[in-house]
């Protein structure tokens, strides 16, 4: 294997993993607060559409990314309102959100299927990107790629290094106790849900603004679901999201390159791999936890909080 192919593969994997990292790190924070939002796919696709539309009209990549975030948050706010104020079932509401998002984006994006836009391009960091090997591998990416990794760090820092993060984890562990000592459960959860929406929105926009310059119905292609799986895969630990996303992204990219390298594996087998891996990991995680006090899953995940006072 020559070195440029190797570099291409590494870059390809990174690019493929970024949407997953964004969506998963947002959902991780949401689940840490004790809320299960199955609407990630719906929030992503709306982000992808809005990013694309704003880019096509303004050619301003900042505005496009911002619009994607706002789009994701807008969809998330529906979920927040229904589950936190009207106390609807989170699983059903999340599923509805995904279906709604996919349908809404397909409908609203009808006029844009023929268009192409200018992709947001990589910005090699001056000097650093000239370092042999390391330069192209580490310092020649699109700014959003760095942002994705930074968000993982930021969520970790928030959860484990700030008082608010501790409160958020406590709410996910035992919302009644958190309420009893005076923390505002609903406020924290709404904020977390909105953050999850913003992240899913950027994750979706990365597809339509960085990976391909077109908009297509259903272009998220199940990545929202993989992101949900990743949160479990990562056992709710932020940095493990990166590892998982690279694994999943990697399989996708290897699939493409395997054909180029004449490795004779059926493409269908390869495209099954990420999903098989999810199942294997979920099972092994469960086996490992079998006889232990639950430490990883937020205890209140998916449970409705209803204040009696």
């Amino acid at each position: 294997m020559n070195e440029s192919l190797f570099i291409n593969i590494v870059i390809g994997i990174s690019i493929a993993s970024v949407p997953l990292i964004f969506a998963a790190i947002g959902e991780l924070l949401v689940e840490r607060s004790g809320v299960l939002n199955l609407g990630v796919e719906g929030m992503m696709i709306v982000g992808a559409l809005l990013g694309f539309v704003v880019m096509s009209h303004t050619q301003n990549s900042y505005l496009a990314v911002l619009a994607a975030m706002v789009g994701g948050m807008a969809i998330a706010s529906i979920f927040a309102f229904l589950t936190q104020f009207l106390l609807t079932n989170q699983v059903a509401t999340g599923l509805a959100l995904t279906l709604f998002g996919l349908g809404f984006a397909a409908f609203a994006g009808r006029g844009y299927t023929e268009e192409t836009i200018q992709l947001i391009t990589a910005v090699p960091i001056p000097y650093l990107s000239d370092i042999p090997y390391l330069g192209p591998l580490l310092f020649s990416f699109n700014p959003l790629v760095y942002l994705a990794f930074f968000m993982v760090y930021l969520v970790w820092w928030f959860l484990f290094k700030t008082k608010q993060g501790l409160i958020l984890r406590a709410i996910g562990d035992n919302h009644d106790a958190a309420h009893a000592i005076g923390h505002n459960v609903v406020r924290y959860r709404v904020m977390a849900i909105l953050f999850g929406g913003a992240m899913a929105g950027i994750g979706g926009a990365f597809l339509s603004l960085v990976q391909v310059p077109i908009w297509g119905e259903g272009m998220t292609a199940g990545r929202g679901w993989i992101a949900l799986g990743l949160v479990v895969f990562a056992s709710w630990q932020p940095f493990r999201i990166i590892f998982g996303a690279i694994l999943f992204g990697g399989i996708t990219i290897l699939q493409i390159h395997a054909q180029g390298l004449n490795i004779n594996v059926s493409a269908q087998y390869l495209s099954m791999l990420p999903y098989l891996a999810t199942i294997v990991i979920l099972v092994s995680l469960r086996m490992r936890l079998k006889n232990k006090t639950n430490r990883t899953v937020p205890n209140c995940l998916g449970r409705i909080f209803h204040s009696t006072t």
Binding site: T162, K163, L166, A180, N291, T293, T309
Partner: protein, 504 residues
Amino acid sequence: MKYQLEISNILEVSNITKSYGDLKANDNVSLSIKDSSIHALLGENGAGKSTLVKIIYGSLTPDSGEMKWANNKYSPKSPFQARENGIAMVFQHFSLFESLTVEDNIILGLDGVGLNENFSEQIIKYSKQYGLDINPQQVVGDLSVGARQRVEIIRCLMQNPKLLIMDEPTSVLTPQEVADLFITLKKLAADGCAILYISHKLEEVREICSEATILRGGKLVQSCIPQEHSQKELAEMMIGKKLTELARTNINVGETIFSIDNLSRKSDDIYGVNLKNIALKMSKGSIVGIAGVAGNGQDELMELLIGEIPSPKAILNFNGQDIGLLNSHERRQLSMFFVPEERLGHGAVPDMSLDENMLLSRPDSTEMTSHDVIDWEKVAVHSKTVIDTFDVQTPSSRMLAKSLSGGNLQKFMVGRELIQNPELLIVAQPTWGVDAGSANNIHQALIELADKGSAILIISQDLDEILSLCEQIHVLSEGQLSDAVDMKSEGLEKISQLMVGGKV
């Protein structure tokens, strides 16, 4: 003019009323707590103690009435405001987070404390000062109930409160732990912190409280000095009627009905307790007690006795039959009945009604069915019998089990088993969270059952309960069961010694 020296009140509550629909949880309640005093709040389940305390702590807003804190008007909108004023609270159902460390838990309850690197040193300092032994780095989920309470107390003390509210603090502690807690509380009061002490245990109240306020049915009965009244008088003020004297009328101990022969089991749970060589013999008509601090193998033993986990052959023998491999339904069919400690989840299905829970535990449901179809009216008749006999406070037997207060559900569950007239009843913590009047009822019913010739095994942390009911007392400590303690020659001292891990 002469100044009269007057002890001032830190908190004055006047004419508080709080209603939920038609129910007046607090009806014109007043109470004054003096500076640096230990003040008892007494009352049965549903007397309105929790409501009053929540109002003081800012979790509830009263419909009418007012409060004064250090002579200033006080109407807290949230627990934050209560804490700002110097009011701290130890909850009955601890407000702790199991997946977090002790240190994190304490930080969560302290306003204005960030995630400070050397905070654990401060925790250790307080824990030493008040003799409350805890390790800040342990995860709360791994701690015993007693240790969890210590965490709660330290969390409160670190706010340097002027008033500490304690809801049923001793219900889970060993006699030694209770003694230690009282030393802590007296020290606190001497340091200028008033304590509002909610308890069912009247002897304790008479020991450490200088004043008591008694509530009944949401109304103030009276405030008094507890030492001026006997325990029985206080209990009767709480329940508003006379207590029955507990006494066995017919101790007619017969042949062996149940035996455990050398039972050992390694726990599946890494935090569980391994049971070692447990042996026990019970005779018909006897009440046998197993005392011990929670977490010494009670849960593990109960699982085996109930049949949630099968036992090997030739260990559990009931009426000459090896029952080790029978499940709990089959054991019930033989007339062994159980009241597990955990009410929601083991003893009752939380999301099912009392009627449904009634039916589920019946070994033989023919009397509640017609043509093999459930006859809900018949079920309701049975539920009603239990509800009436054991004074379960509930609007109807269709209420979900989880909607009842702990004490009420406990009454229902004990009653449900008792009306079956079991030959052997195994009951864990029969009066956990139940008030004095109802506890008296339950105890009386247990005694009547034994008088009729049934055997009863009581596993309880409440030593007073065991002492007043049981003729044969064992102690479970670190998974080992002691021989029966001879109460005449060895007595209480021996039990306490065994409970804290003395040699069996």
